[in-house]
Amino acid sequence: MARTANVQNWAIDGSAAELANHLCGDGPNVAPAATVVLLMSADQIVLNVGLSYCQTALMCENNTTQSGTTREYVAVIPPACNHGILAATRVGPVVSDGTIQAPTYVGCDHGSLLGATPNMDPVTLASPKEGAETYLGLPSGKCYFTPDIIDDTWVAGNPPGTRCLKLPEDRVATNVTIRVTNTAGHGLICNRLTGNIETL
């Protein structure tokens, strides 16, 4: 029996070319019942599909309004950025004296995501191979850390390399704190903060 590709790839990929072959076309491309032709298989039906979300990269720098010499940058993540079946990422602990730690990225089996409560249940897709696969390629229950993909370290007063920008001289900074707050409990943003730390 001819078997066409299963559905679990195209929902993520979404590339037009790949999808074109997945479902039968319209019209009588089969002869009447005397020669039966298999058209569809159960796993070609779109049954359990989640759509893809990307995680936005914010490039920004902001002066905040905290008192004293501590600045805080906060990106407040809007609610209901529903990552559904996909891994979400978060910014890890950051910043000590003048040093912005590069964010770390955590992909989690959602449901265990920083106490967030995604409003979508895990997705299970049929697989034509032995053993069902879940989560559209994301193994269930797996938490993992990717290595820091941003490798710059900032020190107050000494921004590295090419990130030097001209600033008015009356700005001061000693410590810079960066904190990301997820107010809605859903989804998060992977983030790289750029811009300048002002110097004394």
Partner: protein, 375 residues
């Protein structure tokens, strides 16, 4: 008639769909109902940006200075073709001496043209059309992050949005602005949707001994794709105040805080480049990625500056694609394409560099990379 989408995807277990189910309305009907759900509840962020600098002349640690000038941001946009409602969420941090409440005036305008300096033409392509406000917010609580949400219909032809924030009572930080499709609890059934989505009503397929036909099976795919492609997602953003007053760059009396521009000294003999932004965006399980770039760059040189910047996108498999950015003062566009490993934790790195000619400065107003999967 309107169709009520399910509030959740109804997940079929593997054994319900893998084990030779009888040819019947189910599980097909479930699949089609799931596409209704996608239409109502797939709400990726169309825009997500944190501005470079907000309050002008504000110095933490030094007595805050309050200057109630409006701050304007011009941000490219790629709205749904179905004329959806969008939730606009503003996040602000007021900080006034002595505490108290703060109010802000917010305004959103849109245009379908490419020139942000248009005045008051007669069509959306030649003017800024008011979408919201200017309206004062309810009082915000001092020294905490406050969020205000407004739901607006975004015209499908909109190419740029203009956000204006004016502080009424005191200094503040604009932390973040997010725009995402609103929940649709009742899907209307016009003749067609521009996105290609076909709402599903089960009355035909669920009748006794109904025909199982190709269109219904195909619709599972086409609906899901339509929704996915129609709702562009903001992959990366870099937004700086347009100006604090209307007019060209040279007309301001001071630079807003946190603004980044690349300036080249008059004695220089060559162009000078700087990286002004770098970030990473997660693209789980996307082996190929195509990004639609919309940006606004201007510079103080008299003529258009081709190659005033570079956008570099790097996939986590090492593939690299660069887009040359032009400084024209108008909305420009381009496309970047890279590949990733296709893992759940795959990502792309994004980097923006600007170049300034000798004795001139180059300034980026906004750059957004939109992702429409599969397109």
């Amino acid at each position: 008639m309107a169709i009520t989408p399910g509030t959740k995807l109804v997940i079929k277990k593997a054994q319900e769909i893998a084990v030779f189910p009888a040819m019947s309305a189910q599980p097909l009907q479930n699949a089609l109902a799931n596409t209704n759900h996608l239409y109502g509840y797939f709400r990726p962020l169309l825009l997500s940006w944190s501005p470079m600098g907000s309050s002008p002349a504000y110095n933490p640690g030094i007595t805050p200075t309050f200057i109630p000038d409006p701050v304007v941001y011009v941000v490219p946009v790629l709205p749904s073709q179905d004329g959806l409602h969008y939730d606009f969420m503003w996040t602000l941090f007021p900080k006034i001496a002595g505490g108290g409440t703060s109010r802000f005036t917010l305004q959103v305008e849109w245009t379908s043209g490419v020139d942000p300096t248009v005045g008051t033409g007669s069509t959306p392509a030649t003017k800024w059309v008011n979408l919201y406000g200017p309206a004062m917010t309810s009082p915000l609580t001092d020294s905490v992050w406050n969020t205000r949400t407004i739901s607006l219909v975004l015209d499908r032809t909109a190419t740029m949005l203009r956000f204006t924030v004016t502080a009424v009572d005191g200094p503040y930080t604009l932390g973040h602005v997010a725009v995402q499709p609103s929940v649709i609890t009742s899907i209307t059934t016009p003749a067609t949707y521009a996105s290609g989505f076909l709402p599903f009503d089960p009355s035909f397929i669920s009748q006794a001994r109904a025909p199982i036909n190709t269109e219904m099976v195909d619709r599972c795919k086409t609906n899901a794709l339509s929704v996915l492609r129609d709702r562009a997602q903001c992959l990366a953003s870099l937004v700086q105040p347009y100006t604090t007053t209307t007019g060209s760059l040279g007309g301001v009396s001071y630079y807003p805080r946190g603004i980044m521009q690349v300036m080249n000294g008059s004695a220089a003999s060559a162009n000078f480049s700087q990286t002004i932004g770098m970030a990473a965006a997660g693209l789980p399980a996307q082996k190929t990625f195509t990004g639609h770039v919309r940006y606004l760059i201007n510079d103080t040189a008299p003529s258009v500056f081709v190659g005033a910047g570079t956008l570099t996108v790097t996939g986590d498999d090492g593939s690299v694609n660069q887009l040359s950015l032009d400084s024209t003062g108008q909305l420009e566009h381009g496309v970047v394409q890279v590949t990733t490993l296709g893992n759940p934790d795959s990502f792309v790195k994004v980097q923006v560099d600007l170049t300034a000619k000798p004795a001139y400065s180059t300034y980026l107003y906004a750059l957004i990379i939109f992702w429409t999967p599969g397109a």
